[in-house]
Symmetry: C3
Subunit: 140 residues, 3 copies
Amino acid sequence: MRWLKKTIVVETRGKGLYPITRQINQVVLPWKIQEGICYLYIPHTSASLIINENYDPSARQDLEAFLENLVPEGESWHRHTMEGRDDSPSHMRSILTATSLSIPIDEGVLSLGTWQGIYLFEHRSRANQREVFIRCLDAA
Amino acid sequence: MRWLKKTIVVETRGKGLYPITRQINQVVLPWKIQEGICYLYIPHTSASLIINENYDPSARQDLEAFLENLVPEGESWHRHTMEGRDDSPSHMRSILTATSLSIPIDEGVLSLGTWQGIYLFEHRSRANQREVFIRCLDAA
Amino acid sequence: MRWLKKTIVVETRGKGLYPITRQINQVVLPWKIQEGICYLYIPHTSASLIINENYDPSARQDLEAFLENLVPEGESWHRHTMEGRDDSPSHMRSILTATSLSIPIDEGVLSLGTWQGIYLFEHRSRANQREVFIRCLDAA
């Protein structure tokens, strides 16, 4: 059994989905894990993780528009507005998506489905440096 | 320590919640895992996993109706409609629920709560063959 | 490798977010896990887990109000109302948030972000005793 870990940094430039599959593969592939699991964890409260369709960019645009509509900014009842209109909605959008993910690894690679990609979902309007913790258990 | 894995296939016949606890137990119980964890992973972007009430069928119907209302099909701003009206909404419904779950195992069985069942949530209108990856860590 | 486990009980007094980071730390810190992962699992279908902003109480109030608005009680189409108006909505709110979480551990402590706290989200109006299963893998 081996335990492997690394933290990656994702530079965001405002709200939206940032594909991170390639960046994660660059970390995980060299570890040559025969079988095991990969844990992803985002230590932020206004950015989150999702796994979704990796092929057609319009799918990504629809997901971004969807969360924008589902969790509107500037509601009269928002109290937590210290850091701006996007403050509270960014937390709401985070809890509806994922803070932690566990992805199986087989024969060295993440067992993502054919159409699956991993994304960091930035919920703040301004640019940010976001960390993603990668931890892998090599069970072989 | 042991690492155990198997993939099950769930036949869906349109949108809705499909109970899979029994199918998962048929895989996990024979492994006789004294203590550890079971990872479930769905390699699809238009079907997802949830854990919810296992007893009264009306709870399931309400959950299905709820997602149908929360994420309507046919919105004018949907761009990703190549595969039909349910294409983009199926991705939206996926990111609101779970792609990966981790369930403790104690004395051979999944430590689900009394009322908990595991469901595959099909978000597409047509029938599909859906895979669920089961990975278990026997920590004994 | 070590496998460590304990169950904590959280007393809730109606709907809302209950901070449980301290209670979890009281369990995890004495285990002195050099590196590994902590699995949290809630064996209930009308309470869930989230990780979110730990600093300003107004963020918590907004999250509570948000779910209250997003998943209204008393909808005419609700069928699962045996246990009251909050019955079906409590399941809906559960599937939008998390039943299981996996948090990395480094040098003995949970690797939460600076602003992150762990919360139990009670979705029922009445008081409850809620269990949270804590399982840790010490990978050292």
